[in-house]
Amino acid sequence: MTTILYSVTGLLLFVFGLFALIVCPHPLRKILGGNVMSAGIFLFLVAASYRADTGEIDAVPQAMVLTGIVVSVCITAVALVLSTRLQQAADQGARRRRKRRREEDAGE
């Protein structure tokens, strides 16, 4: 019961994240979606190998999830820095355009 419940929750989280990653325009939202997606997969992975009746714990999926969490924080950080840099570039471009326009106005 517990296994099924958490497995299904994990899969639904995966689908939610997938939906956000595809549909939302804002990069932060996309990255959040990716995080939810990976959390869903990890939950599914551990829930699928958890056996409530015997209480037996398989360490391999847990190690896999640890690896996955670290990888996903790494990708999150890179994506965040990329979007920050992108915003910076856009701001700079806008400032440059504004300055040029001002100079043109002054020239006239």
Partner: protein, 343 residues
């Protein structure tokens, strides 16, 4: 008892789903990030319920403790122009004001309908597959238990992570380093204000917390061999100490030299590679550890990796290479604490 536990699980699962839905749907990005922090917290409770305390600890330290602040810091940098109306409730859809990602019209376009329908189908199919798969297999639990004595540690998760599947972990540590190199290659860290106005309360708090956090981080790294803990969790806690320093805008930070940082970042992977080579020399097999020395070697490895991981995660938070790297100096450029224009 059983029913109460089921009730707890059900409530937890429903709340997780509701939170995920909210964080993906809410109009305000800041709200979404707060939801995300709460989401991480509840995920960690779910890990506890799955009897995976190592994962719960990692989720607490990395997933929530660090990712949340990462998002908050990035939000500030991205939504600068939108900052004006962040204090009050944004009128209507304040999500994308001023940023380059303008809010699209919220009407359901045919494309959106298609994507929604497809994802619903996907969810249905996946859940159906899970329901028809027979009982879970024993997996590799028996093998792990059988070889645990030769691994040099008592915690099965650490044994899998560092010994049985050490190659995976080496590549994973490399992914972290790769992330740090990527972040450095993209931009330089934003420069703190020339005269930081950190409040005395915060300074005092940092002074109190810093040694405590370092202590706990070291303790978690050391404890990994016996029970819950390990290089990743301990490293994440160590990085929290560095992040506290970064947030408090200490003056000496912008002048940080790049070489010691690079040494620190590569220390863990270097030790790992040396250990792998040592395995070839001594046992003629990559990454193989002599059984009698496995314990101390793994502890040494964990310590080195913990340090590097802490530094790497802090580098993620800093959001770029140090200002002194490659002949960039903090205040040589334009005035008013703004860095030299990149690109």
């Amino acid at each position: 008892m059983k029913m109460l536990l089921t009730g707890f699980d059900l409530l937890l699962a429903l709340t997780l789903l509701w939170l995920a839905w909210q964080l993906l749907r809410s109009t305000d990005i800041f709200k979404a990030i707060i939801f995300f922090i709460c989401f991480g917290l509840l995920m960690s409770l779910a890990w506890v319920r799955m009897h995976a305390p190592d994962v719960a600890l990692a989720e607490a330290a990395i997933g929530t403790g660090l990712t949340g602040p990462l998002f908050l810091a990035a939000l500030r940098r991205i939504e600068r122009k939108a900052g004006k109306n962040m204090m009050s409730e944004p009128a209507g859809n304040g999500e994308e004001t001023g940023s380059r990602w303008k809010a699209r019209n919220r009407e359901m376009s045919p494309l959106l309908w298609t994507v929604t329908a497809l994802t619903c189908c996907l969810a249905g199919l996946l859940i159906w597959t899970v329901l028809i798969i027979p009982r879970p297999l024993p997996g590799l639990a028996d093998q792990v238990a059988g070889s645990l004595a030769e691994s040099g540690v008592n915690n099965p998760v650490t044994a899998v992570l560092l010994n049985f599947r050490g190659y995976d972990t080496l590549l994973e540590v490399m992914v972290l380093l790769l992330g740090a190199i990527t972040v450095w290659s993209i931009t330089h860290a934003p420069f703190p204000p020339r005269v930081p106005d950190t409040s005395p309360v915060q300074k005092a708090a940092v002074r109190l917390l810093l040694p405590l956090i370092c202590l706990i981080g070291g303790y978690l790294v050391w404890q990994g061999a016996y029970q819950t803990g390990g290089a990743f969790q301990g490293g994440a806690v160590l990085s929290a100490a560095l992040v506290l320093l970064l947030i408090s805008d200490f003056l000496w930070l912008p002048g940080m030299r790049s070489l010691p940082l690079r040494l620190g970042l590569t220390l863990g992977p270097l030790v790992f590679v040396l250990l792998a080579g040592f395995g070839i020399l001594v046992e003629k097999t990559l990454l193989r550890l002599p059984v009698e020395y496995a314990g101390p070697l793994l502890l040494f490895l964990e310590a080195a990796c913990g340090l590097s991981i802490g530094l790497t995660l802090a580098a993620f938070f800093a959001g770029g290479r140090p200002a002194s790297d490659l002949r960039e100096t903090p205040y040589s450029g334009e005035a008013k604490g703004k860095g030299p224009a990149e690109s």
